[in-house]
């Protein structure tokens, strides 16, 4: 059954690589946007799924990535690679600050603290002179990557975005499947025991916060380059809620499940767009169903079915389907 999954993955990869060749079937900009959200959701899940920390302020990192990249490209006339780097590092730095403050509490309080801090960040971008407030920062130049790849060319841009996002996802995968990732899971499962085993838990949490925020910043940076726009809804708390939905929908106990969730949410938003406000209602209902009966998420459920474990083990997985945060 693993081979079936692998086959699906290979097919999906081939389809993604072929996207710019068939613009009449699927709009490449939509795919690029979805790719950004995939990275955003997987990066977010480093905290929620793998460490058991619910951050309700991740929009701050995505938005900062977008705004800082835009600022560097537009006002400092930096080349694309440096602008993206600046956006990513800003996201990471902000993540370190958020993390250092927020991990003093846990559970609901932690979520509220990150929400409060992201509102401060929102205020900054609303007021700062370079952001264009409600109009957003417009006409961000795409520039040339490493002086070689002209990003104004949509096909080049697509493959650059694809490669960057793939790189980001690889970092997520590598993190989860590393000794570091194992410690994160230990913290999620039983924090006092992780402490008693001698792990500097607070430092681990700040590091994973920074990493998650940096990758979110990267997603935001790419978004700014793709749309040539950084806007307030990237920093709005609704975006922080959306990423939780994507992650939960895809499956928070998987590495790439959130990417599937991001794909589904983006597709719903795009293809239900003609129905106006119904999109919100549909997403709300999907979210509700997901929280009530489908907590493992799509990919979680799939893995579960494909593995065909004996009954006892399946129940154990069911229980793991809930995040545990230590109180």
């Amino acid at each position: 059954m693993q081979t079936a999954l692998r086959l699906v993955a290979v097919l999906a990869l081939a389809a993604l690589l072929a996207v710019p060749l068939f613009p009449q079937i699927v709009y490449p900009v939509f795919v690029m946007q979805t790719l950004c959200f995939m990275l955003f959701a997987c990066a977010f899940n480093l905290l929620l799924g793998h460490t058991g920390i619910l951050s309700f302020g991740h929009a701050a990192f995505l938005g900062s990535g977008a705004y800082i990249t835009g600022y560097c490209a537009k006002f400092l006339a930096l080349p694309a690679e440096l602008s993206i780097l600046a956006g990513t590092l800003t996201g990471a730095a902000l993540g370190a600050v958020f993390g250092a403050l927020a991990i003093r509490r846990s559970g609901i309080y932690l979520a509220m603290i990150t929400l409060a801090m992201s509102q401060l960040v929102y205020f900054f971008y609303l007021q700062a002179p370079f952001t264009g407030a409600e109009d957003g920062m417009q006409q961000i130049p795409r520039g040339t990557l490493f002086g070689l790849l002209d990003l104004h060319n949509d096909v080049t841009l697509y493959y650059v975005v694809f490669a960057t996002i793939a790189g980001g996802l690889w970092v997520v995968w590598r993190t989860v499947n590393s000794p570091f990732g194992a410690v994160l899971r230990a913290i999620r499962e039983h924090e006092p025991r992780a402490i008693s085993l001698g792990y500097p838990v607070a430092r681990y949490k700040v590091v994973v916060f920074t990493l998650s925020a940096g990758l979110s910043g990267l997603a935001g940076s790419m978004k700014a380059i793709i749309f040539q726009l950084a806007a307030l809804n990237d920093v709005h708390w609704h975006t922080s809620g959306d990423v939780v939905l994507m992650t939960l929908l895809g499956g928070m106990n998987t590495v790439f499940g959130p990417a599937a969730g991001a794909l589904l949410v983006s597709a719903l938003t795009r293809y239900l767009d003609p129905f106006g406000a119904w999109v919100t209602v549909v997403i709300g209902v999907v979210f509700m169903a997901c929280v009530l009966v489908f907590r493992e998420g799509i990919v979680g459920k799939l893995q579960h079915v494909l593995r065909r474990r004996p009954r006892e083990k399946r129940q154990a997985v069911d229980r793991e389907g809930m995040v545990r945060t230590s109180e």
């Binding site: 619910l54 403050l101 003093r104 509490r105 846990s106 559970g107 609901i108 309080y109 979520a111 509220m112 603290i113 929400l115 409060a116 801090m117 509102q119 401060l120 929102y122 205020f123 609303l126 007021q127 708390w237 809620g241 939780v244 939905l245 939960l248 106006g276 406000a277 119904w278 999109v279 919100t280 209602v281 549909v282 997403i283 709300g284 209902v285 979210f287 509700m288 997901c290 929280v291 009530l292 907590r295 809930m322 995040v323 545990r324 945060t325 109180e327």
Partner: protein
């Protein structure tokens, strides 16, 4: 006369407006605190129920000709009913799980309610007339205060006091406090805790709806009127100490005043100061100003 280089009249004027806003915060955070105390769930849908209250009043007025005063009574009851149904059908299913699922479930309800009303009424908003008896204004010497705003403050304070009385001085309130402390033990004494929980949720969202009706003539009745407010109210409740009823009311009024002052000195920041206060308070007193240290 000047104070900190600002005419004292402007200062007092903003203070009054701050108290008006603060009374909305107080009623909303009171409901949120009661719900958190018993259900241990952060009710993200609180703002949506506030919006629902305003819309019920609006619809009752324009379709059934029910006037403001009747709506002030009917809307909270209707919304409480809807809230209890939601609790009975859905919310109940996530009690045993991590509290974040309660947060997410109520968040999804926000999407459904806000989206639904946007489909039905559009996003621009509907005007709701101020009741005739309160159209005048009171001259306070330093400012002209519309009578309706004075009424809002008086009504909010009355409701907060009444709620306090019910919780602290009645048998039902005693059950409620018992269920907050030890719900299993309360159940063991033969009290129907699940019913109590449902009623609590109804009462909490009913309070939100009451605030919504109060707000209807001041703000435009629109689908997103609650979501901007609820984030601030969260901060209020966290600053006051989650689950502390007294803390929620005092902090609500207090932060309204802080906002008013901020508007004098740095008006753009007035909608954000609450979050700065929240971060600072949590750094010094992690359990909030009036909360007990736990969690």
């Amino acid at each position: 006369m000047d104070l900190f280089g600002v005419p004292i009249q402007a200062l007092l004027g903003q203070l009054m407006l701050g108290i008006v806003n603060g009374s909305f915060y107080a009623v909303l955070s009171l409901g949120l605190a009661i719900i958190f105390g018993v259900l241990k769930i952060v009710n993200f849908a609180h703002g949506a129920f506030f919006m629902l209250g305003a819309f019920v009043a609006f619809m009752a007025g324009s379709y059934l000709g029910i006037d403001y005063w009747a709506a002030l009574l009917i809307a909270p009851l209707v919304v409480a009913g809807i809230g209890m149904l939601f609790e009975y059908l859905f919310l109940r299913r996530v009690y045993g799980l991590d509290p974040i699922y309660g947060l997410l479930l109520t968040f999804s309800l926000v999407l459904v309610l806000e989206g639904g009303f946007r489909v039905a009424f559009g996003s621009s908003g509907q005007a709701y007339a101020t009741p005739e008896a309160l159209r005048g204004a009171i001259n306070l010497g330093f400012m002209i205060l519309p009578e309706y705003r004075a009424f809002v403050v008086a009504a909010s304070v009355t409701v907060c006091l009444a709620t306090w009385y019910v919780i602290e001085r009645t048998r039902l309130g005693a059950y409620l406090r018992a269920a907050t402390e030890r719900s299993e033990l309360t159940g063991a004494f033969g009290i129907n805790v699940p019913l109590l929980v449902t009623l609590t949720y109804g009462a909490g969202v009913g309070l939100a709806a009451f605030a919504g009706v109060l707000a209807a003539p001041i703000f435009h009745v629109n689908p997103s009127m609650g979501s901007t407010l609820v984030i601030i109210v969260f901060a209020v409740v966290v600053i006051g100490g989650l689950g502390s009823i007294f803390g929620a009311v005092v902090t609500g009024l207090g932060l309204g005043i802080v906002e008013g002052f901020t508007r004098v000195f740095y008006s753009e920041f007035s909608s954000t100061i609450v979050f700065l206060v929240m971060v600072l308070v949590l750094l010094v007193r992690p359990a909030g100003l009036f909360g007990r240290t736990e969690g």
